[in-house]
Subunit: 157 residues, 2 copies
DNA sequence: GCTGAAAACCAAACAAG
DNA sequence: CTTGTTTGGTTTTCAGC
């Protein structure tokens, strides 16, 4: 996992696209004071280097009918089963994030469900049936107050 | 927070753009079998309805120099200070997510830091100095195994 | 709500410095 | 690493259905 050195223009390009993935390259070019072709090549390079992972439309989960957001901390029966368990968790469509963590539990997942009944089914039929999972601890998110991308401004190199 | 009724085409449009925010509208149009102008109008409507919140380039935090990811559960001195505390948390650039939660603590934040020393400074100088915060409990994410947008396929209306 | 067409605009690739 | 140019595709708007 090698770090690429990003110069000021790279960071400026990323900053704009992090806020709006559909911002035209030519508009970025005008903001940065270089040609569109240069922006295009820099973005391609950032993509190939793995700095850029993709782009996403951000939708309001509530508007899509997902009224329940929760974090679940999962404790494994056996640490050996980590990789296999993750592969099973990946198949649970409600889960949007998965971390290996320190502290209480071994895995932390974030998920969205339609309602509490759906959450219950997801926990009991989706998560607890996975071999290797011993216990879960669920924390409901009453409100997702804000969500944003990592701010790259305060790395001044 | 009224739910808009999304038909099959709306969901198809969103599904494509959630995977790739820069997918050309005309390509979506071809996949959906309707004109580009219709796609354009539907997306504008979804935007105005608040279903679409924006779009983001997804960057690898590690590549940007953020080697440490953590979740911090925050307990307030006084529940009255909730709103004010959130406004202060919003000013901490390292924080990318903020929830009101049930269970252990009142607020859960997710953040990225450059290293453990930076995390320590963020907790002590950034978070614990905020009026109204009593205690914090930090959970380091050893690895962010995956991260994706909510899968809208399993809502079949 | 959709369409097709027009005008303005953009992405991508190129040779060249 | 940059630029200007070119080609084909795209966005956006609008009248009309």
């Amino acid at each position: 996992m090698v770090k690429t050195s990003l110069d000021a223009i790279d960071r400026k390009i990323l900053k704009y696209l992090i806020k709006n993935a559909r911002m035209p390259f030519l508009e970025i070019a005008r903001e940065c004071g270089i040609s569109g072709a240069a922006i295009h090549q820099r973005i391609r390079k950032l993509d190939e280097a793995g700095v850029i992972l993709g782009s996403r439309l951000i939708v309001d989960p509530k508007m899509m009918g997902f009224d329940v957001c929760a974090h679940i901390s999962i404790t494994l029966k056996d640490p050996q089963l980590l990789k296999k368990t993750v592969e099973e968790l990946r198949k649970v469509p409600e889960i949007v994030e998965c971390h290996f963590i320190t502290g209480n539990g071994n895995i932390l997942v974030k998920l969205y469900c339609v309602d509490n009944e759906h959450l219950m089914r997801t926990i009991f039929d989706g998560i607890l049936r996975i071999q290797g999972i011993a216990t879960t601890e669920t924390n409901i998110s009453l409100q997702e107050v804000f969500q944003r991308e990592v701010n790259i401004d305060f790395i001044e190199e």
